[in-house]
Amino acid sequence: MTRARVGRVAARAARAARAARVVAFLGAIACSAACGGGGGGGSDRGGAPDGGAGSSTAGESDAPPEFPAGVYACSSSMNASGSFQGTNFESVGGGNGTLTITQSGWVVTAAYTGDTFVQGSLEFVVTTEASAVPASPGQTVTIDCFVPLGPSAQQPLDLPLEVASGALTMDGSTVFLSFSGLAGAAGAGTSTGAPAGGSPCDGLEIPVTLTCSAAAAGDQ
C-alpha cells in the first residue's frame, strides 16, 4: 500500500474519531521504522484502519485479515426521494448482479456487474475477516436513475454516484455491501444523455445495498 493510501486511511480513521487506535497505528509505523524490524516490509500493509476488531488487527499481526474472496450472486436495492418538475417522489429500484471480491494485502476490491441499476468497483480496507471500510471517500459507481419521471422514464439514464460512506460485511454466508452518496451533477459528474433539466436523480443522496450469497445467480 502506498504512503498516500496509508495517509488517507489514517485520516479517515482520525475523522471517525478513533483517536486511540490511530495513535496505536501510527505508533506501530513508528516502531516499525525505528526498530527496523521488517523495514520496507511494512509498505504493503498500509491499511489496518480500524484497528478495532477481530482476531487479526493492525499492530498485532503482519498479515491482514482475509475477507472471503469469491463470486457472489446479489440482489440490489436503492432509494431516492426528491422532487422533479413539480412532482414529489419516493422511488425504489433494484435488480440482480454478480459481485466479485478480491483481496490484495489490506485492500479488498468489490466489483459488481450485470445489474441494470448499479455497477462498478469499490475499494475497501479490510478491518476483520468479516468487515471492511471504504479505502477512500469519493469513489464512484454508476447507477441507472430508477425514478420513472422525466427522461429516465423513457430510457435508461446512467449517472455517477459518488460514494460518501459505505461498508462491506459478511455474516454467515451472506455478504452485505452498503454505500450511499450523491448522484449525478452534484456528485462526481453529470448524467449520461440527460437533456437540459437533468435527471430526477441529480443531486440526490441515494443509499444502495447489495445482499449477496455464494448461491447461483437468481437464488436471491
Binding site: S55, S131, G172, F176, T211
Partner: protein
C-alpha cells in the same frame, strides 16, 4: 416522508429487475407510471461462516451509539421509502441493540441485537431473531367464480432472521437483514431488507 404511503407503483424495465416509485401528488398535480398498485407493508439464510462474530472484538465507541434519523428503507416487507428513527444502544454484555421506531406508513417497529465484529461493524446475534414482515399470500379457494386464480393479498408474516449486518461509516448507519418467512399459507416474500440512517444525536 412523514407518514403517509401512497400507492406503490412498480414497473418492470428489464428481466429480473424492478423499479418502483411512490409518487406524491403536489399542488401542481402528480404523475403516474405504469405498473400494478399495491399497498405498503413488512428476510433468509443462516449458519456460521467466516463472518462469525468475534467475542473478543471491542465494542463500538460511544460516538456511534445514539439516535439516527432520516432513514430510508428498502424492501422491508413491501415497505420502501423514507422516515423513521433508529436508536442504537449497548447492552451490559457489550452487544448492540437496534430499535427501529414504528411510525405510520413505515415498517413495523422492531428490536434486534448484534454482536460487534469490529469497531464499526456487527453481526446479527443470535440468529433466529424475529422481525415483523409482510408478504403476498394466497388463501381460500384456488380459483374465483370466474375461473381465474385468486390474487394474493398483503399479509403480515414473521421473518426469522438468519443473518444480518450493522455497520457505521461517516455518520451513516447501515442495517441489512436476511431471513426465512414463517408462514403457513402460500406466500411470496422478499426476505431481505435494508435500512440506512444518518446520525442525528447522542
Amino acid at each position: 416522508m412523514s407518514g403517509v404511503f401512497t400507492p406503490l407503483l412498480r414497473a418492470r424495465r428489464a428481466p429480473s429487475a424492478w423499479v418502483a416509485a411512490f409518487l406524491l401528488a403536489t399542488a401542481g398535480g402528480g404523475a403516474a407510471c405504469g405498473g400494478r398498485t399495491t399497498s405498503p407493508g413488512a428476510g433468509a439464510s443462516g449458519a456460521s461462516g467466516s463472518g462469525a462474530p468475534d467475542a473478543a472484538a471491542p465494542g463500538w465507541t460511544d460516538q456511534e451509539l445514539g439516535t439516527y434519523g432520516s432513514c430510508t428503507f428498502s424492501d422491508f416487507g413491501f415497505a420502501s421509502g423514507a422516515g423513521g428513527e433508529v436508536t442504537l444502544t449497548r447492552t451490559s454484555s457489550g452487544a448492540l441493540q437496534v430499535v427501529f421506531g414504528e411510525d405510520a406508513g413505515q415498517p413495523a417497529g422492531f428490536s434486534l441485537t448484534f454482536l460487534p465484529t469490529s469497531g464499526t461493524s456487527a453481526a446479527l446475534d443470535p440468529a433466529g431473531q424475529p422481525i415483523p414482515w409482510e408478504g403476498f399470500c394466497w388463501s381460500g379457494p384456488a380459483v374465483t367464480e370466474g375461473g381465474l386464480p385468486i390474487d394474493p393479498a398483503p399479509t403480515s408474516v414473521t421473518l426469522s432472521l438468519t443473518s444480518g449486518a450493522l455497520s457505521y461509516d461517516a455518520e451513516t448507519l447501515y442495517l441489512s437483514v436476511v431471513g426465512t418467512p414463517e408462514v403457513d399459507a402460500a406466500c411470496e416474500v422478499h426476505a431481505a431488507g435494508s435500512i440506512t440512517c444518518a446520525r442525528t444525536g447522542p
